[in-house]
């Protein structure tokens, strides 16, 4: 079959690929299938271990299914009212923080992606420099303190609001969009903000989704900011709470007894597993939703006209 014919068939609607391609595709599917099992197993292991009977799980080995069944360790982590306070704080921090971060990154990335803008290299350099050098914990703490942010919710969001890394990823994506888009819109009299919000950002959804993911995960997992900038338990974040649970079970002060049942076995390994589950599952629920934004490729040409 000649390639021209091939294209013609495609053009007429039928999806036909060469034999080599079909085989290649099947190999890829199988390969990725195996890979995904390797990737998924440890998390599965964590889940199964976390609901196993503490004493039975101690023998170790592989966990395709739970060994025995007990939710005691979940109780240890979830029965305390404080976890809901910390969940609330972390969710708020993640939602507000991520929205602010993505917005600020987009505002910064867009001008830097416009080639004719004078000084964009110097500004890029100025921002990039902060990726390599930092003042360290104490000067940053002093800054936050002087801004009056200690023990405020804003302290959980502002100090890490923009990551140069994420900003550059977005800028690079915008750079890969055809410059004609911006130019022709400008010629038509559109203002820069209009171009950004109406044309560039809609076209950048895959990259926005990617950096939103990065920001979201780092907001969700961040630890040092909450530790240093807040004192009140009412501002405690999930990671701080979980850290306390973790250290508690591995110390001689472990909480061991439960009402009416005094000899339930708790291993710190199991509590670790519960902690992973409790902190990761919300992210896993959110991730497929973000994935929506990288559906199949965009046809830029269509937007141009």
């Amino acid at each position: 079959m000649t390639t021209k014919e091939n294209v013609k068939r495609r053009g007429s609607g039928g999806i036909r690929r060469t034999r080599g391609e079909r085989i290649g595709n099947r190999i890829i599917v199988v390969l990725l299938g195996m890979l995904s099992i390797v990737m998924i197993y440890p998390f599965w292991h964590v889940l199964m271990y976390s609901i196993s009977d503490g004493a039975k799980a101690l023998g170790g080995g592989l966990f395709f299914w739970p060994k025995g069944f007990s939710l005691f360790s979940y109780g240890l982590v979830l029965r305390n009212a404080q976890i809901w306070v910390s969940y609330k704080n972390t969710i708020l921090k993640t939602l507000i923080g991520t929205a602010l971060s993505v917005l600020l990154s987009a505002l910064t990335a867009y001008p830097l992606s416009i080639r004719r803008l004078k000084g964009r290299r110097i500004i890029s350099m100025y921002i990039f420099f902060t990726m390599l050098f930092s003042g360290g914990t104490i000067p940053t703490y002093l800054l936050v303190k002087n801004l009056g942010l200690i023990d405020t919710f804003a302290a959980l969001i502002l100090p890490g609001a923009v990551s140069a890394y994420n900003m550059f990823i977005l800028r690079n994506y915008m750079l890969s969009l055809p410059p004609e888009l911006e130019e022709s819109a400008r010629i038509d009299g559109a203002r820069a903000t209009t171009i950004l919000f109406r044309i560039i950002l809609p076209l950048s959804t895959p990259s926005l989704a990617a950096i939103a993911m990065f920001y979201g995960v780092s907001n969700w997992n961040s630890y040092m900011d909450a530790l240093l900038y807040t004192n009140k338990l009412s501002l405690q974040t999930l990671q701080l709470y979980l850290r306390q649970v973790l250290l508690q079970t591995s110390s001689s002060n472990a909480a061991m007894t439960v009402a009416g049942k005094t000899e339930e076995y708790v291993s710190d390994t199991q509590v670790q597993m519960v902690i992973v589950a409790v902190s990761v599952i919300p992210i896993l629920i959110a991730y497929p939703w973000l994935q929506r934004f990288y559906t199949k490729g965009i046809t830029v040409g269509a937007v141009k006209g």
């Binding site: 305390n80 404080q82 505002l107 104490i138 405020t152 250290l247 061991m256 009402a259």
Partner: protein, 499 residues
């Protein structure tokens, strides 16, 4: 664009508005930064009971133990100290010298009578942080426990051997515990000895059996005070450990297993002897952590091992615990507006039995009830029998699990009989070592690195197939060159001058 900016500005304003700091009149507020790892709710029973009993509005900044140092260092650097906090080492002395701590002496008579009563004559002045008559810090003396070497009596019975009293007998028992199926399950799944590099306590008694105080300074015959690696019998002990390792008696994962895993081997019944302090094995974790059936009284299951040194005839006990005079002390910041209240608070919570019971056991007759107060028997009531609920309500939380800072604190008063007795017996045979109560410059500078070399040497010398003596000499040389010689010189000098 304007819209956007004003939106952003509004957002920022909202964020900062969410942080309203309320100023209170009435009772004085004392902020107390406390390290601990319990999940406690913001406002709880114990906290309000403390406030009610003392008339002080106590505000606790509760920091997990792993992060306490980071947080307090940052606060010191920013000069925003809480009223009461704990601090150790050189930083404590620097703070004192910079005039950032309150001298408690003028207040102690009136507001801290129990504090004064709990210290022996001159004891308070011995603390490094206290200068002359001035009292800047109070230490926690509740942590002074000695390690014991425990053996399972049922296993001894099963293999038909007696509690070992010499190194040779110890070896025989370890062998039998490995190969003679001491748990009777028909499987080769036990070890004679489990030790872990990440759990230094596990090596203590085996080294002690060779006359070596493990992991601390050793006093050599010529008066040199130096690393235990330079103890003349070190290689003898290494040879013993090498034998255990090569015959499969020592758990081969000793270099990788975590401290918790080494404990779990004991709870799981994979090893029949273990080096531990009595609080861990016999009190808090008994019987909850044991996977196999255990008798009600730990004394029915365990016995202490007492090895007698062939050479000297002495009983080889655990390392003698010293109250570390440079360790954590509670201090009151100079910036504290009501030092008398701060002292009153400390006095009540950590130096009176009622206060100790409150922070350790909770609110009496609500959270717990005494069964036999004389003998330390109590029970927790209703929902507070549940640890999580108990701690959420503040039980256990503000005491670092010890119930007071006095030698006879709530925790000690509620020990079970076996824990109490084995503490006393072991203390009587404790192995002394040259404890140096000051902070040596060389230790500050090189201490942790030197310790890392010691651990690297221990692990590698046990498994190496090369020339043990040559490798030993290399590690000694490395230790000496990486600041060890300076440390040794300073320690020896101090010892010669002061003892």
């Amino acid at each position: 664009m304007k819209k956007l900016l004003s939106l952003l500005l509004a957002l920022l304003l909202c964020l900062s508005a969410m942080s309203v700091v309320s100023a209170e009149d009435g009772p004085h507020t004392i902020t107390f930064m406390l390290s601990g790892d319990n999940t406690v709710t913001d406002e709880n029973l114990v906290l309000s009971e403390i406030r009610q009993r003392t008339g002080i509005n106590l505000v606790v900044n509760y920091i997990s133990s792993g992060d306490y140092q980071t947080k307090i260092n940052t606060l010191i650097a920013a000069n925003t100290l809480p009223d009461i906090f704990s601090i150790s080492g050189q930083t404590a002395l620097d703070l004192r010298d910079a005039g950032k701590l309150t001298d408690m002496r003028p207040y102690l008579e009136e507001y801290g009578p129990h504090i004064l009563a709990s210290y022996e004559e001159g004891e308070l002045e011995e603390l490094l942080i206290n200068e002359g008559d001035a009292v800047y810090g109070l230490n926690d003396r509740s942590g002074l426990v000695i390690n014991t070497f425990l053996i399972r009596k049922d296993w001894l019975e099963k293999v038909g051997l007696d509690n070992p009293t010499s190194v040779d007998e110890l070896y025989e028992v370890m062998r039998a515990f490995t190969f003679d199926d001491p748990d009777g399950n028909g499987e080769d799944d036990t070890y004679g000895y489990v030790a872990a590099i990440k759990a230094p306590n596990t090596w203590e008694h085996v080294f002690s059996a060779f006359g070596i105080p493990f992991n601390v300074l050793n006093l050599l015959e010529d008066g040199t005070v130096t690393t235990y690696m330079k103890n003349p019998r070190y290689l003898e002990c290494i040879e013993f450990l090498r034998t255990l390792y090569s015959e499969g008696i020592l758990d081969p994962d000793f270099a990788t297993m975590t401290q918790m895993e080494s404990f779990e081997r004991f709870w799981n019944g994979k090893v029949g002897m273990f080096n531990w302090n009595s609080v861990g094995s016999m009190r808090n974790w008994y019987p909850g952590r044991y996977v196999f059936e255990v008798p009600e009284q730990p004394g029915d299951l365990f016995a202490r091992i007492e090895i007698v040194d062939d050479e000297t005839g002495e009983i080889c006990g655990g390392k003698k615990p010293y109250a570390d005079l440079s360790s954590y002390c509670a201090v009151i910041a100079k910036s504290c507006e009501h030092p008398e209240d701060a002292i009153r608070l400390l006095d009540y919570l950590y130096y009176t039995p009622e206060g100790g019971d409150l922070v350790f056991l909770g609110v009496e007759d609500v959270m717990y009830r005494w069964i036999d107060k004389e003998n330390g028997l109590y029970e927790r009531i209703g929902e507070y029998a549940d640890d999580v609920t108990h701690r959420a309500a503040g039980g256990y939380v503000y005491s670092a699990g010890r119930g007071g800072w006095t030698v006879d604190n709530s925790s000690v008063r509620t020990y079970n009989a076996f824990a109490r007795e084995s503490q006393q017996e072991e203390m009587a045979v404790a192995r002394d070592w040259p404890y140096i109560p000051v902070i040596l410059d060389a230790y500050t500078e090189y201490g942790t690195q030197l310790n890392a070399i010691e651990m690297e040497a221990l692990a590698n010398l046990i498994v190496t197939t090369g020339d043990v003596e040559a490798e030993y000499a290399e590690y000694i040389a490395r230790w000496e060159n990486e600041g060890g010689l300076q440390y040794e010189a300073e320690a020896t000098q101090w010892w010669a001058d002061n003892r």
